[in-house]
Amino acid sequence: MINATKKWIFLKISGAILVPLMLWFIINLSSIYDQEYTNVVIFFTNTTSKFLFSIFIINAYFFSALSISEVFEDYIANDKIKNVANMLLYVSAVAIPVITIILISWL
């Protein structure tokens, strides 16, 4: 299997997983965004919410990194610039969710 096919399959699987997680998160966000500090903390410290939020951000960054790298492929001609852009993209796609999950586990 060539890399492009693997990438496409990963994109489709992560996209399918992302749909129910986005649905769950957007309804909860509408519910908590204007709540007091305590209620927001309760949401992020609840085991189920914390687990689903962690899966949601990991999957969202994974999906976005694959999608945005496709945009780079389509619109960036220079290989050096494209490689740097992809590297920054993949590093941030790992770093941001990992840092967030560690920080919310301290709540």
Partner: protein, 127 residues
């Protein structure tokens, strides 16, 4: 080194269709969503600073600007949800007829607006 593979032509040379509008909107909302998710990660992390510092963020989110932002985010997420379902159905080999692509494109556009209202009202316990 310059890559010799062809790049996508500039979008301005195409005549606009429902499918192209949905496709470009899918990419735009995808980028908006990941920026929003980054800000949400920051928001969740800022909870560590404690209740008194959270007051400033709460003031912004509880204002009209905050409500407008949340409605915008809800629309952007709703658009991605419907667009992703449309793509998954097309990946299974359905919905390639010209008429069907127009109908499903319109469902994504108008459905995202309807879903925005529904999701927001569910979140606010209106049902």
């Amino acid at each position: 080194m310059q890559n010799k593979s062809p790049l996508s032509p500039h979008i301005q040379i195409y005549k606009w269709h429902i499918s192209s509008l949905v496709s470009i909107s899918n990419r735009i909302t995808g980028i908006i969503n990941i920026i929003v998710i980054t800000l949400i990660c920051l928001w969740a992390s800022l909870l560590l600073l404690g209740e008194s510092r959270y007051e400033t963020i709460n003031l912004l989110l509880d204002s009209s600007i905050g409500k407008f932002l949340i409605l915008g985010i809800t629309w952007s997420f709703s658009f991605q949800i419907l667009s992703e379902i449309r793509h998954l159905i097309m990946d299974l080999g359905y919905g390639f007829e010209l008429k069907t692509t127009k109908i499903t494109g319109l469902i994504v556009i108008f459905g995202s607006i309807i879903l925005t209202v529904i999701f927001y009202l569910i979140g606010k316990n209106f049902f």
